[in-house]
Structures are given as structure tokens and as C-alpha cells.
Symmetry: C2
Subunit: 566 residues, 2 copies
């Protein structure tokens, strides 16, 4: 009687699996229910009272020094091109490096041997342990994110910390569920009439290979940890290539992972931080390396299309979309424009979910029991945007600062120049705490439908384009066609008519674009919620992957069956 | 309070869902357990006593006539190039056609409108209904398969009927499970301290688009129904492009589907049979059509690589692999060679799972308590092959006939010419029932490891290449490297040493190749079993998809969320 053994024995695996099984199973159940669920609370008050001060102290102590918390092998150091959009000062942090893309691949290959033999349950438990420990870094992570991306502090805390950890937990939960859906071993017993045929069958999870995570400059952890954790959980080592100007947040994540790996007698290099500089980028060399089989990518379309076109790779992309707002009618004009003003101002529009094109019938809309003209809607919206963004306290908190000020300013000028009418000019946002902050308040313009080529384009930044249409049906047609041709990640719609609502839902769903209807309260189209909302559908040109559907995890491994006639 | 309705009301949907839910849920549970399970019995005796005679009568009545059971629109007819490998006679069956690839796409597009709005549960139930009805055609399907592919009757019955239907049920079960894993509607209720934010959330299944199934000439239904049913179940209309010489079996499948669709007020064209001829192939035009989003393909590597390279398509391929046998030691030499002789003879080796390269240490192997030389193993194997293939009754039944006799014969000559030694020449197999049958008994040759380029190649047909190696470790190295570079779909290994077994399992699993160890009884490496064995791992160059893992289904649709603040 022969048996197969395929798994590495880790001293603490059993304890870690027991420790984290409840959290993983809770997360699996939450994903099925999709009701409100937080694995990591988004409210800063849920954390120890001293956590924020300690996080700030840790952040300040790190500035200008080498980052020594990574345990990966290295033969050099690189001071990243990180500069605070709030102070204009370089962060001056040095990160360990290896001398070439090939050296990162070699290190990952070496670590792969042990990681692929770690059982799927142990992998998920180790990764959950790393997330739990990352909790202690949430405030440092918030400062690191704020002073690299330009996000406001609260957003930086929530997006990089708990929300990102929730998204990572989704990936872990699905990886746990999918990898344990098939038994490790069973006896197959086929009745053949006079006798039975018996086979011992074993099923192995076979990871695809080395995984590359290409992170972006605006949501370094939120957009990258789902892919990193999905690849790791399914046995693939991960090379993290942070944006050259936003390294620190992902260094914190990698450090916690490496801490847990090495404590459990595993190589640190199961995850590798591979920073580079704008002058000597290494992304393409890594992406094209034949041993790199999986690529997670967040960023612009041109590079994303290149990534998707690489032969022999399985890619998970989030590129840009053109997001529409369809305004047909509303119960409350002021609440509607306030809500949309927030959406356009939040993080100065540097979000892939930010609305851009506002389609409004040229003859106006019904608001409550009044008919309101196009100009009245436009004016109310522009005033709401101005009121929020120029509010001395809310303005800087909501708008934050510009990650790449020069390119945002170029786009602001370009759009203003193309517009028929400027409803609100972009003006700087005074930030009393950070007088040197790079800011730009939202620009609100009007374009005609004849200018299709000008608005059939993503203008990343605080830019709203109001477009008078023939009718709501016409608005829907335009929004659907833009989503189909160029992609869309969100859509906001306002209508009090149930038939119109169904029409919008059908048309946009056909273009694989999620729609948020009639948001008037404190919830915004750019927000989506872990364990409930999918992020990017994968069904239009804005990206080919989803946080977090089953494929996001199952495409990263294969099952291999082994049969023995004993 | 607004609500969304997205689903078409079908008069009998609820009844059909109730009728087929038990079968679908049984199948879901069977896939999780992976023990022996048949949804459709493989034993012909499980079917009505008169079924075989009726099937034969139906087959004979169909010969030389138009196939009128399809309900799809058509503007022409094509007599397919179908010819029995047993009688040499053309089948002479005419199939309805449309005038161009564009016309098929247009018909599919039109049918898509209703199908995408049919609820996922209703789709699965309708498809299960079609499978249940196909049961009545299993014997006709067997004759249709025998006289197009050349399979022996029993294989034609089992592979095209119950085994194919079981594989289709796997796809339906997973489609049922995955599409219902997310609720259709829920109220999301987020506590915000002093108040709660509530959103009505809806989740839609959004199919990818038109699906193309490119079938092969040897297993027309078995290799194609999983993809056809997976695409249909997830809302995608399917154009079936049968092999020009093997149309009839898939016409039977399409006819049952169209019968069920039209009875339920749905367009027949949700599934379309699109036959072509070798002189005027339409496959590339269909595959490259921008509206075709999903492609299932079984066939050769060159065309498969082209299919995988098409931009903007999601592909599911099964191409060719080079399958190895690793012989280290055995308890029973005779049982081993008998088992392998059957594997190489079955359907004259026209199977993607057939073993080809037999790696045997040049110093021989241990068999029971004896040391047996390489030549003794080779001789015993050649004799076993000869004994089986030349057996007057078993020979023709097991070997069947050649689908494409000319190309198989060319390969037999080519391999014989490259060999160091011919252990068994290929000779015709006398078939008393069909004296005109195109046959070729297996060829057993020996090649040296220096001839790597000659055996690093798939030789489709009844061809076994024996290769003396330095040691079992050397055999494993060669088998692993061939699987990695050229793909492999199966591997047979014989060893009585547990350590060697684990070494083989680890090495081949790393190359994403399933291994069957020590098959001595009436089970063979080329066979794999629905609900238990995965077919093709997707992890090496032999193909990028698996019957049937979760991705096989989930890659065919996206979730789109719709939110309403009510």
C-alpha cells in the first residue's frame, strides 16, 4: 500500500491554521452573503488610543533612513524617488535591492521550492497572520500613504489599512475555500459488476509560477494586496514592483509577510520588494521574464494593454475607464449635487472610480416636483463643488494633494481649453496644515455631444464634464457606448422613474458597468465596500479582473490528480 | 422604493428548475467528493432493451438524407464530408447552413438578447433537460460517432453518450453553483454610529458574449460538450464549428438543445451548428470575429497556439501533449505490459491521453523478485501488444478504425524510419464485421535518448517508443522536461518503491501532469472519469483549460453590481 506525501512540515502550521480558521471561514461566509462586513474596522477609534501617535512617530523616525524591516537578501540599496505631495520634501528612505531583474527572479525561484510545498491551509493561515500583524502598522501605513500618494489622512488610513486588508482577506478566503474544495485524498471505488476497481486518488494544488505585482502611485496597497495575497495563498512567490514614487506602503506590507515567513522557517523571498527608479525602470524586464507567469497590474491603459498582450502570461489588470453620471430626475436636487460634488472632489479625483462625464438632458430634469433647466443643474453642481472644495476644513481634508501635480495641471488646462463653457475654474486649495501642499480644486466644464472625442477619454484628476443630451435615452446610449469601447469602472444614475431605472440598469450591465442609483446620503459612487461590492467587473476594457471573484484566485493554480492502483 | 427586474419570464422555468434541481445539486456534491459517480450510466444495459436496435435504425434512416432535426434558421444546405472509416462509404447527410460566418454571428447576436435575460437557474435547468433528452439518442449517437471517428462501438457509445453527458453535467453543476453563490438581491446596512446607511444591492451575471466551440475529429462530443454547456449555462450563445468530417454527433446534441429552447419560447439560435467543408473552412473567420469572445478548442498545436494568441478572446484549449510512461519496477511484469498494451491499442492510439514514450532503465527493472533486462521488458510489451491487437475478437473491438488513415500511416512510416529498432511492426487489423475498415495495428519501436528531437514530438496514432535511460531518475528528468516544454496530458508510472513514487509524483506534478501509478487491472492511463478526474490540467503547454475546474465556468461571465439608495 503506497501513499503520497507532498507537503512540507512546518513546526507551527497546525496552530496557525487553528488560530486563523475562524477568521477565514467568517470571511468565506461574508463573501457569500455580501452584506455589510468588516474584518478590519475602518474606524480609527477601533484601534488603541496611542496607535495614531505611535504610527506618526514611526513614520517620522523612518524618514531619511534605510528601511531595515525587510529580511530579503540584497546586494545594494536604493533611495526611492518618494516626495511628499504635502511638504514637497523627499522622504529619503533607502530600500534593499538586488542588482538585476534576473536576480529577483532567481531569488523568487529559490523560495518557490519551499512555498509550493507548504499546504494551502498553512499558506492561508500564515498570510492571515501577516495581515493581523499589519494591523499594528495601520497608522504608520496611513502616514506613509498620505505622504507619497497625497491622499487625505483619513482616506490614507482607511484605504491603505483596513480596506486593503479586507480586500486581501477576500482573496485569502476564496483561496482557502477553492483549494480545499477538492479532497487531498480519497479512495475511488467503481463497481464493475463482479468486482470493484479501486484507486487511491490524490489531488495537488499546482501553483502557476512566479507572480509579479505592478503597483500604482495612488492606491499602492489597496489595489495591490488582493493580487499579492491571492498569488501567495495559491503557492506562487510574488515580486512586488512598487511605483517608483510610492514604495514605503508596500515595504510595510512586504516586511510583515517576510517576518511571518522567516519565523516559520520559510524563506523571506517568497515575497520580494523590487523597487526601481523612473530613470532605470525594471518592470518590463520582470514582466517579460519567461518564469513570470502571473501579473497583477494597476495603472494606465497603454502599459496595461502591453501587459495583457504578453504571450504566456495570466494577467489581472485594472486600467482606466470613463465613468459616467446619468441624470434623469431626482427627489432632491441639492442632495444630489452635494453627493456628486463630494465624488468629484474626493482625493482630487485621482480615483479610477471617480465620475467624469455628466450626461444631462438639454431640456433639464425633474427635481422633486419642479422642472429644472440644464443650466440650473450645472450651476447648482458647480456651486456645490466650490462650496465643498473651498471649505476651509472639509476642502483640504477631502481633496488631499496631487500625486503627480504636473500631469494633473496639464490635464486641467487641456480640458479647460477644449470646453464650450467653464462652470467652475480649478483653483488651489489652501491647506493650513501643509502650506506647501500641491493642490488643485475641481474643474467643472461643459462640452457638447459633438465633442465626443474630447470626452471619450479619461481625464484623470478633479475634472467634471457636463454634457447636454437630447434625452435620458440619449444619455444612456452615450454612457453605454463609452463603457463598451473605452471601459468604465463606475456609473452614477439619478432617476425617480422605475422604468428608466431598469433601462439604465440593463444597458449599463450589458456594458459590464456597475451602477449606483440615487445616492443622496453619505455614500458615494467612488466607494466600494469589501465583502460586498465587486471592484472592476472584468467585462469591459477598463480591466480584465475583479476584486474579488472566484476566477481572481482559481486562475493562479491548477489541480493535478495522482492515482495509485494499490 | 425602487426595485430592479432583470430576468425574462419563461412559462415553464419554475417547473424545470424544480425538476432538475436535485440532479444539479447531486452533481455539485459529487464534484466536491470526487468519488465514483455516474449521472448517466456507462453500461449500455442500463438503457431500454430496444434502445440499441432503435438507435441503429435511426442512424441508418438518417444516412443519405438531410438532417431535419435542427430548428435554426438557414438559407442553404451542405452535405458534409463524412465518410465511415469502417465501410469507406460517405454518410451523405445534409446539414442546414447560413451563407457566411457573419450570418452565424448575426443569428447568435439576435438569440443572445433573450438568453442573457434568462435566469441562471432557468438556463441550467433547460440545459439539464436537453441532456436528459439526449439520453434517448445515445445509441444513434454511438453509431454516428463510430462511423465518423472510427471508434469501436462500445467506446463510441460510452465516450459520446454517457461520459460526454457526465462532463457536460459537471459544467452545469459548477455553473449552477457559481452563479448562485452571490445573492440576487440584498439590503446592505452599514452602521455609521448615529445612523445606518442602507443600499439595495442587486448582482447580475453578465455573460461575456458569443462563444465558439471548435470540435475535433476524434472525440466530437466528449471534448466539446463541456465548453458548450459551460458557455450556455452562463448566458453565452454558442456557435458549434464541428470538424468537417465529423458533424453528425454534434448535430444530435444541437438538435436536442434547440428542441428544448424552442419549446420554451426561446430562439433556437442560442446554439448554432455551423458546419463547413475542408475546401471552404470558416473557423478562422468565426474565431477572429470581434463579437466572438469565448473560444473552446480541441485539436492540434499549431491551430491551438493561433487560437490562444488571438487578442481579446478568452480561450479554453486542449492541444496535444507528449505522454510518458516511466517504468522503474513492478510487482507483475505481465499485468503491466498487458495494461500498457491496451492503452496503446485503444482506438488505435488516437487519443490525447495515449502514452507514447516509454522510459525504461537500460539495465532493466525489478519485476516481482526478478531482475528483468530492458530487452525482456520490450519483448514482453511487444508481444502483449501483438496478442491484443491481433486477437480476432478483441483486436478490432479495441483498436477500432482510423479517422484519418493517410496521416496515421504517414506517421507510422516516419517513426519506423527514425527508429533504432522495430519491436513490432504495424500491420492491418482484420475486422470480420467491416472488411473495408481502415486499420493499423500498433507500432512498437526503440529510440535512443540521443534521438530526443524525434520523440520530443507527438506522434498521434498507435505508436509506442521505448527509450533506454541511464536510470529511473533519468527517465523522470526526461518525462518532466518533455511535459514542461511540449505539454503532457497523462503519465503512467510503475514502481514498487515508495520514495521513487513520491519523486515521480513531485516531479510530474511540478510539470502539471497527472500520474497514474501501477495500473495493472482493468483501468487504463488513457481513461479518466467524470466527477473525479480532471482532464488536462491547464498547467503545461498541452492546453490552458481543465474539465472541469471552477475557472472553466467562471471565466465565461462577470458579476455586475447595481446599488440603489432607496
Amino acid at each position: 500500500m503506497s501513499t503520497l506525501t507532498g507537503t512540507l512540515a512546518l513546526p507551527q502550521a497546525a496552530q496557525l491554521i487553528d488560530k486563523h480558521r475562524p477568521a477565514l471561514e467568517t470571511a468565506v461566509a461574508a463573501l457569500r452573503r455580501r452584506t455589510f462586513h468588516e474584518q478590519f474596522p475602518e474606524n480609527p477609534k477601533a484601534y488603541p488610543e496611542t496607535a495614531q501617535a505611535e504610527g506618526q512617530a514611526a513614520f517620522e523616525a523612518q524618514l531619511g533612513k534605510p528601511f531595515t524591516r525587510l529580511r530579503q537578501k540584497s546586494d545594494g540599496q536604493l533611495t526611492a524617488h518618494e516626495k511628499s505631495p504635502y511638504t514637497g520634501q523627499p522622504l529619503g528612505i533607502g530600500y534593499p535591492t538586488l542588482s538585476s531583474p534576473e536576480a529577483y527572479v532567481a531569488a523568487a525561484r529559490e523560495a518557490f521550492a519551499a512555498w509550493r510545498k507548504t499546504s494551502p491551509e498553512a499558506r492561508c493561515a500564515l498570510l492571515m497572520e501577516a495581515l493581523e500583524r499589519l494591523k499594528a502598522d495601520f497608522f504608520e501605513l496611513a502616514f506613509a500613504t498620505q505622504h507619497t500618494t497625497g491622499q487625505g489622512f483619513m482616506m490614507a488610513f482607511q484605504a491603505s489599512g483596513p480596506h486593503a486588508a479586507d480586500r486581501a482577506t477576500e482573496a485569502l478566503a476564496l483561496a482557502w475555500h477553492e483549494q480545499t474544495a477538492v479532497p487531498e485524498h480519497l479512495v475511488w471505488d467503481k463497481p464493475m459488476g463482479k468486482f470493484n476497481i479501486k484507486l487511491d486518488k490524490y489531488y495537488r494544488i499546482v501553483p502557476k509560477g512566479i507572480s509579479l505585482a505592478i503597483a500604482c502611485s495612488t492606491f499602492p496597497t489597496w489595489n495591490s494586496v488582493p493580487g499579492i495575497f491571492a498569488s501567495l495563498a495559491t503557492g506562487n512567490p510574488v515580486i512586488i514592483k512598487p511605483h517608483p514614487t510610492v514604495v514605503y506602503p508596500l515595504a510595510l506590507v512586504a516586511a510583515r509577510l517576510q517576518e511571518v515567513f522567516t519565523e516559520n522557517s520559510l524563506p523571506a523571498e517568497i515575497v520580494l520588494l523590487a523597487p526601481d527608479t523612473p530613470d532605470a525602470p525594471i518592470t518590463k524586464q520582470l514582466a517579460e521574464h519567461p518564469e513570470v507567469k502571473l501579473i497583477d497590474y494597476t495603472g494606465g491603459n497603454a502599459f496595461g494593454d502591453y501587459i495583457e498582450s504578453l504571450p504566456g502570461k495570466i494577467t489581472f489588470t485594472e486600467k482606466a475607464g470613463i465613468n459616467s453620471v446619468i441624470i434623469d430626475s431626482t427627489t432632491d436636487l441639492q442632495a444630489m449635487v452635494n453627493n456628486l460634488a463630494f465624488s468629484i472632489s474626493l482625493y482630487s479625483g485621482q480615483m479610477c472610480t471617480r465620475p467624469q462625464n455628466f450626461f444631462i438632458p438639454k431640456n433639464g430634469i425633474k427635481a422633486g416636483d419642479q422642472q429644472v433647466s440644464f443650466d440650473e443643474v450645472a450651476d447648482a453642481f458647480a456651486k456645490a463643488v466650490q462650496g465643498l472644495s473651498q471649505h476651509p476644513k472639509a476642502g483640504p481634508a477631502v481633496c488631499g494633494a496631487l500625486q503627480n501635480a504636473e500631469s494633473v495641471r496639464n490635464r486641467l488646462s487641456e480640458v479647460a481649453a477644449k470646453a464650450q463653457k467653464v462652470w467652475l475654474e480649478s483653483t488651489p486649495i489652501a491647506n493650513p496644515e501643509f502650506p506647501e501642499a500641491q493642490t488643485a480644486g475641481p474643474l467643472v466644464v461643459q462640452m457638447s455631444v459633438e465633442n465626443l472625442k474630447d470626452f471619450a477619454h479619461e481625464w484623470f484628476g478633479p475634472i467634471a464634464i457636463l454634457i447636454p443630451t437630447e434625452s435620458t435615452a440619449h444619455s444612456v446610449e452615450l454612457a453605454q457606448s463609452l463603457a463598451r469601447q473605452h471601459g468604465a469602472i463606475s456609473c452614477a444614475a439619478y432617476t425617480t422613474d422605475p422604468q428608466t431605472m431598469n433601462h439604465i440598469a440593463d444597458a449599463m450591465a450589458e456594458a459590464a458597468t456597475p451602477v449606483s442609483f440615487n445616492l443622496l446620503g453619505q455614500i458615494y459612487v467612488n466607494q466600494n465596500s469589501g465583502f460586498s461590492d465587486f471592484h472592476v467587473t472584468g467585462g469591459n476594457p477598463a480591466g480584465n479582473a475583479t476584486f474579488t471573484d472566484t476566477s481572481f484566485v482559481t486562475k493562479r493554480f491548477n489541480f493535478v490528480g495522482l492515482r495509485i492502483q494499490n
